[in-house]
């Protein structure tokens, strides 16, 4: 074996070892810091993982852009919704006085909150943009109760990693990681532009996740489940979006 091939062998060996060690370390770091999205498997898993990991490292605490009142859209677009289900129709005549949001899962005390319960908590408002993955957008003022306040009230387990949430639209559910769940702008929204939240925009209760695309902001919210794993929720991909072919993480 001559000097050059020995040198090559040593270099290649060192590079391969360094690569393996690097990959193992990266994987361990990614697991530890929650950089792997629930829809990380499959053909588009690598791209999704890179996007989610990069965003979690870059934007964990950043705030969605807020706009001046003058920029509130004169003609917001409500988008299509599924026909209301029986529960929704039964609660609507009474102006949703009996609407309940249940909070369950890895919490010290489960809760069932009415709209007035929510409104008795400190209110928050934000003028943020709804951006649909199709390309359109509008700005509105959203008024509600920060999710973090509700989670603090029920005492979330320190092992919690996600909050899954459900509305009355059939088959539609989603989830966010604790970074987004505890984010000050994640809002249980019951008001819009100085009025009640209109039904076409998700009234009486909609979750707003302003750092992600519109489809994460599920309308007609009825249930929150705090969990440490999304494996047993639906097909285990994190929400109904990946089951329909859309990314779980919609912050892009």
């Amino acid at each position: 074996m001559n000097a050059i091939s020995r040198r090559k062998l040593i270099t290649t060996g060192l590079a391969a070892t360094a690569g393996l060690v690097g990959l193992t370390a990266a994987d361990r770091m990614a697991q530890r810091y929650g950089l792997i999205p629930p829809d990380h498997s499959g053909l588009y898993g690598p791209g999704e993982t890179l996007t989610y990991a990069a965003q979690r490292l870059l934007t964990k605490h950043s705030l969605a852009r807020e706009f001046p009142r003058s920029m509130i859209s004169k003609s917001p677009f409500a988008n299509e919704v599924a026909p209301p289900n029986a529960l929704f129709k039964s609660l609507q005549p009474n102006n949703f006085a009996d609407w309940r949001l249940t909070v369950e899962g890895m919490v010290a005390h489960t809760a069932s909150l009415s709209l007035s319960d929510l409104k008795s908590l400190p209110r928050s408002s934000q003028i943020t943009e709804v951006a649909c993955e199709e390309g359109w957008s509008y700005i509105a003022e959203w008024i509600g109760t920060p999710l973090v306040d509700v989670l603090n009230a029920v005492s979330v387990s320190p092992h919690a990693r996600y909050v899954a949430y459900y509305g009355t639209e059939k088959g539609l559910w989603d989830s966010i990681d604790m970074g987004d769940a505890l984010h000050p702008q994640t809002l249980l929204t019951w008001g819009m532009n100085d009025g009640d939240l209109p039904v076409p925009f998700g009234g009486p209760l909609r979750i707003r996740v302003p750092r992600q695309l519109g489809y994460k902001s599920v309308k007609y919210l009825t249930r929150l489940t705090v969990t440490d794993s999304l494996k047993h929720f639906g097909k285990g991909l994190g929400s109904s979006s990946p089951e329909a072919g859309y990314a779980w993480y919609a912050g892009i």
Partner: protein, 267 residues
Amino acid sequence: MPCYSPHVSATGSPRNPDTPRHTALVRVTHWITVLAFFALLLSGLEILISHPRFYWGETGNVMTTPLFTLHIPSSRDMVPTGYGFVMPDQNGWSRYLHFQAAWLLVLTGLVYAIYILWTGHLRQNLLPAPADRSWRASRAVITKYLRREPPAPSEAHSYNVLQRIAYLGVLFVLFPLVIWTGLALSPSFDSAVPFAVNILGGRQSARTLHFFVTDALVLFLIVHVAMVILSGFRTRMRAMITGRTTASPATAPAAIASPSIASQERA
């Protein structure tokens, strides 16, 4: 002085015939970029047809006046297109593919950028030679192209000034712009770097600019492929795939250096 006098630059000097026309790294990154670009173009088109309307400013939707509308059918039924039918909705996997291909393109571009700075490829083969940094030099190349004159021998192993300007424009203007306008469409990225979208005039302006920069890249692609075909498709493709400018370099090494064959080569 109507005649074009070819500049003999250091990079155009006769080289060892075994030296590849394009290095392995340039060839590999070129074809990965081709793959990623077509994936981005196809998926981008699929995303576009879900809302083929463009706006200027921060917001825009079917209730507001568009800047312009593409007269193509949409994959969503609430977009007024004038067509009586709705295209199949392929937005889901198209978006997954778009971002994965974007990562591939950006990471490949990063490797390429480090390479061209590290090896001097940028300075030697992409930045115009000092003698070519004039309108006169560019005009001379245009004249040559229009007269369909054969390329100078020096061009067999290097790029002329117009090619260099075009490649530099794609590398340092269009690609950065398309990445920037694309990132500006990420609500999460904008939360961390709000000026990225604000200085473009808002979210809808960024989307419209993303479309225009893509158009410019497609225009480059059309001209690029046309020039490859006009200057000898087989030799040019061989050079970018195998690195070699002739079919069998091992059997006829002497012929490669001859100007008659070399003069057929043009990137």
